[in-house]
């Protein structure tokens, strides 16, 4: 077991840190308060290869690896949870399923623009009645000869307001399982923003990650070309679940970054803040709180990095062992750590932490979503225990 980053990974980490501190941190409060999608940051990240980190250069990617991607999301999220999830959703939920399931033609058509960040990607699975129960899809896709016709709506879609390409999950018919029961046949599609009948609906106002564009998608007799079916017909649910396995590494990285970012802010604060004639860093309560929070965050980091390295091994063909459980563990622990750590950091800040003069209240609000989206913590426990008890 080797815990050393490669020279390239260490160099990339340094670059992400510099970029986050200089370009992302100064905008974080404004992005949150104005609920503004940081388009200018996305353009800068695109130029630096941050929108396609772990994909091959031949397809327009940066030629890096999954761990480098995880570190990018981590470093961005240390200073701005919104910017972290923009990269995560784009990469894991749109670029990855096309890369992993697309035909050569689909990859050639969509990946160069997505991986170079010229276009932004999103993923539509969740519906008003299909959250954790992802099988409860209502959106339909009907084969109309030379094209598909999609009808239905999706909600809580990250990046939706600014995305050009969407992976949409829809019902294409019914099938009978081995026990003779009728089941929905679910398929995946690549849908472009300007396809006829496609529109972006209500923009959600949220508690945290407020600069992230979370909207409803509406498909009303939406015309999708035949060749835009992603993967085989009927494989949509499997594609969606595998996509979320990868997505969880991104969200776990976001949670990890939020936790570490909160600790970093708190360490600086407790050295400055004086009560009873000395800095509060000199009180043992502060010291023990910081120590435990850092140990828990490092534990989360090891789980996140392990999941990232595992996904890379699968991508490189070095193992066939699925990384679902590793990703679920990483997200479960990192998300809970983020919520716990940001709450405790705010407590160390006291009244000042509750004001918007400091970033800690924003970090606490941003942390909560990591326990909910791309599978709640309860779903992660279902995945982990399911593998233990099978």
């Amino acid at each position: 077991m080797d815990f050393q980053l490669s020279k390239e990974q260490a160099m990339a980490q340094k670059m992400f840190q510099e970029f986050a501190q200089n370009e992302v941190k100064p905008l974080a409060q404004e992005v949150d308060e104005q609920e503004r999608f940081p388009e200018e940051t996305v353009k800068k990240m695109a130029k630096l290869g941050m929108m396609g980190i772990y994909f091959p250069k031949e397809l327009g990617g940066a030629g890096g690896d999954v761990l480098t991607y995880a570190m990018a999301v981590e470093e961005l999220s240390k200073v701005c949870g919104t910017t972290g999830v923009i990269v995560s959703a784009h990469t894991s939920l749109c670029c990855a399923p096309i890369f992993e399931n697309g035909t050569p033609e689909q990859k050639q058509k969509y990946l160069p623009d997505l991986l170079s960040g010229k276009k932004i990607g999103a993923f539509g699975l969740t519906e008003p009645g299909a959250g954790t129960d992802a099988q409860g899809q209502q959106t339909t896709a009907v084969d109309a000869g030379d094209h598909w016709v999609l009808n239905g709506s999706k909600i809580f879609i990250t990046n939706a307001g600014y995305a050009d390409v969407f992976i949409i999950i829809a019902i294409t018919g019914t099938t009978t399982d081995k026990k003779g029961r009728t089941k929905k046949e679910i398929s995946a599609f690549i849908v472009e923003r300007d396809f006829p009948g496609f529109s972006v609906g209500k923009h959600e106002l949220k508690m945290g990650i407020r600069g992230s564009s979370t909207c409803e998608l509406i498909m009303q007799d939406c015309i999708v070309p035949k060749e835009n079916l992603l993967g085989a017909k009927g494989k949509g649910f499997v594609i969606a679940m595998k996509t979320l396995d990868g997505g969880r590494i991104g969200i776990a990285s976001q949670a990890l970054g939020i936790a570490q970012g909160a600790i970093d802010e708190t360490v600086a604060y407790v050295k400055e803040r004086k009560q009873f004639g000395r800095s509060i860093a000199q009180f043992q309560n502060t010291q023990f709180e910081l120590a435990e929070m850092q140990a828990r965050t490092d534990a989360a980091r090891l789980l996140v990095y392990r999941a990232a390295v595992h996904k890379q091994a699968v991508q490189d063909g070095k193992t066939k062992e699925p990384y679902s459980v590793d990703a679920a563990m990483a997200k479960l622990i990192a998300a809970r750590t983020a919520s716990d750590v940001t709450r405790r950091c705010l407590q160390l800040f006291g009244g000042y932490g509750y004001t918007r003069d400091y970033p800690i209240e924003r970090m606490m609000r941003d942390a909560k979503i990591t326990e909910i989206y791309e599978g709640t913590s309860e779903v992660q426990m279902m995945v982990i225990s399911g593998a233990m008890l099978k």
Partner: protein, 266 residues
């Protein structure tokens, strides 16, 4: 056509400064960064590369770990690195250093349309001497303190910033330009270039590679060839916290006069 950039790895002065017993900097125990002005020189060369498609080479003199800095510059888009490194070169002052780097540039080979870029000065020595001395030793025209560079064929028009104004200077290639921070905003490394920067060439120019150059002579390189002698180095004591008095009225002036009088300053 090539743009050749001379860069230096310097101690990170935002961290702890350590000094050896003989007065020189204890570089091994200090964190290092790329000299900030040199990043402006690199950026100028990379802009030229975008405009003309020229090759950008980066040259540094330093111990073997300085290769890491060269790799970071390759990860910004530079094409080739040269590390001038040998025990014989150690302890060189600016005179000896420019002698050695000039020999290195001779080895790389300067052509009629090449441009050498340097940062104005390094944050460790703050001399601003090495760039101009390299130009003198290679008999290149030089323009220092460049805040703007426009290229038209083999003619460069350079805005040279001075304390109380600026000069517009035309210069023909091959030439040497020293760059200041106002010239540009250095770019970040990019992920695309990071994954690939170890596949780019970095050539080590050691004593044997340069010893036949007429500039290289035991009396002109290394500690013994350096006319500079450091008598002592020290970290200056930190100044005390200043005090601000608000107000432009007579009462504040009296208060200030009283404080200065109490300290027997007036």
């Amino acid at each position: 056509m090539k743009a050749i950039v001379c860069v230096k790895q310097v101690p990170d002065t935002s961290g702890k400064v350590a000094v050896n017993e003989n007065g020189t900097l204890d570089r091994a125990s200090m964190a290092t960064i790329i000299n900030p002005d040199d990043l402006n020189a690199v950026e100028a060369a990379l802009v030229l590369k975008e405009q003309t498609g020229c090759e950008v080479d980066v040259v540094t003199m330093g111990p073997p770990p300085a290769e890491g800095m060269l790799r970071e510059l390759l990860a910004r888009g530079c094409d080739k690195g040269y590390l001038i490194s040998a025990r014989e070169f150690g302890g060189s002052d600016t005179y000896a250093t420019s002698q050695i780097i000039a020999a290195g540039l001779n080895k790389i080979g300067l052509e009629a349309d090449d441009i050498v870029f340097c940062g104005r000065q390094a944050i460790d020595g703050d001399t601003a001497q090495v760039g101009p001395q390299i130009a003198e030793k290679l008999h290149l025209p030089q323009v220092t303190y460049a805040a703007d560079i426009q290229k038209n064929g083999n003619t460069l028009t350079v805005k040279r910033m001075l304390e109380d104004g600026y000069m517009m200077i035309e210069v023909q290639t091959p030439c040497l330009i020293t760059c200041i921070s106002e010239l540009n905003q250095p770019r970040y490394m990019s992920v695309n270039e990071i994954f690939g920067c170890y596949d780019k060439p970095v050539e080590v120019l050691d004593y044997n590679a340069l010893k036949d150059d007429p500039l290289i002579d035991a009396t002109t390189i290394g500690l013994s060839g350096s006319p500079t002698n450091i008598l002592t180095s020290f970290t200056p004591p930190q100044k005390g916290v200043g005090m601000m008095l608000e107000g432009a009225d007579a009462a504040t002036a009296e208060k200030l006069a009283g404080m200065l009088a109490a300290k027997h300053i007036i």
